[in-house]
Subunit: 320 residues, 2 copies
Amino acid sequence: MPLPEKALIEEVRRFARSRSTGNVRLGIGDDCAIIGIPPRHEALVTTDFSLEGVHFRRQWHPPESVGHRCLARGLSDIAAMGGTPIAAFLSLALPARLPQSWVDRFIKGLLSLAKRYSVALAGGDTAQSPAGVLADIIVMGSVPKGTAVIRSGARPGNAIYVTGALGGSAATLNLLRTKRKVVPSETDRHFYPRPRLEVGRYLREKHIATAMIDLSDGLSTDLAHICDESSVGAEVEMPRLPLASAGKPPTSVSVDLALHGGEDYELLFTAPAKTRVPSVISGVPITRIGTITKVRGLFTRDASRRTPLLVRGWEHFRRT
Amino acid sequence: MPLPEKALIEEVRRFARSRSTGNVRLGIGDDCAIIGIPPRHEALVTTDFSLEGVHFRRQWHPPESVGHRCLARGLSDIAAMGGTPIAAFLSLALPARLPQSWVDRFIKGLLSLAKRYSVALAGGDTAQSPAGVLADIIVMGSVPKGTAVIRSGARPGNAIYVTGALGGSAATLNLLRTKRKVVPSETDRHFYPRPRLEVGRYLREKHIATAMIDLSDGLSTDLAHICDESSVGAEVEMPRLPLASAGKPPTSVSVDLALHGGEDYELLFTAPAKTRVPSVISGVPITRIGTITKVRGLFTRDASRRTPLLVRGWEHFRRT
């Protein structure tokens, strides 16, 4: 194995620099990390796989993007609770013949995003992989006790909102699938999604959101999660959907991608109809896209036409 | 895929029963779990892979044992800090053709151990695996602020102790390797290791241990970790080593297995020479095996002969 576990740990330690900063009382290199949770706060914990061939492909995604996306998945879950991230833990299994430079660039992409949000890499595990690069990211955060925005708080009559634009990540993935040359731009939400941490926190602090989820599986699937957990239905007004732009020259993505494409890592939330919701929060546009209904089931409305919205679960690369 | 992710989540939920108990304010089924940390405590976090072909083999290990071992790895890390486990998170990727009964039995083995220590399964992730069963267990626990027993506290003159007996797990693994029939007994520490949570907590509460680690990689490797982190050396008195018994009729394992065999999940700790250490804690024998030295380096002593102790890292199944 060209990358002994100890060398990897040393390298991550070097990148991560300090073993003990802020709420991370003890980082990489003991049986456990020790994390301080601020007084009157509770801990948030989320775990997300990033498996080669399932969540990314080495021939499509530069290593920096794989590292960035790996951590972004976890940070986005913290954002969806209105929380603040504290520390990340990385379980990383590497195949025997992986070039050292790939690992360096992966760690660089991950730590660059971590730095932007003051998240410490505080531990993890390493192993030799039986097949491809296997990563599992754990992000721990905190939120004042009893204030986390959960999925089950949507009420009939609530308005439904999304941050940013939808379908951009899936559009880039379609380009990759058709084997066109795609230059991984740092502003492309597929390669470098930005978790909406500031927006999530604002929505919690201002008591705006009644329910919230991040758009990792696609609008139809994630809206269904909110409706299932809240025992309500929803109606999406099609003309309101904020469609992402993609390609050169940029054109709007299809409504289909906006409804079902995954991995945009925007936030989907509900708020009482009378609550004033800013049209921009921390530079991110907020769009009202529909209404929560008492009647169960998901529907789309386009002018006067009401159509059942099929929940088409995002299945990563399985369809390819 | 015969096991849709949703079905797996539902099944785990059913097994795990309650979504909100004790310190787990919100369990499986939201963007994050919400975990309460007791006042004046800090959080402990550990992550451990259990990868098919690396940490276990389906033809050797019954699914209940794989689930048990998966969680035991994390609980043992909490024990080594003197902590109390609160919740576990399981990231689980399954190959397409895995029988449903395998998953049921795996979850059963994991949850049976979780129940014994009142640990909630509070979340995780699921995915389709590109190769074999891939599990990553995250265990979160707590410890009163500033009291965790870490690796770096060993001082010259401290006595070195281990719990239980050494080399038993590696002896069973050797039997498996030579393809002899091995009946997986519930008392076999290889198939069903018992994390030493009560002992770890006692050693912290009574201020006995100055440094502690769990024996997952083998005595020579794990003692080296304590010595590295504490900037000290160590001398192990060979006649004192508590050798495990294995086989039928039971015979003592070799000194080699006791020194270098991994996965015993016993505790290795140091204590001031004058501290009275009970010979049994919570039914587990405690044995003094040597002394911490100011001079760096690891040595064994057998009568008057002093020999350098080679650190032979445990490499799971790589040697097979």
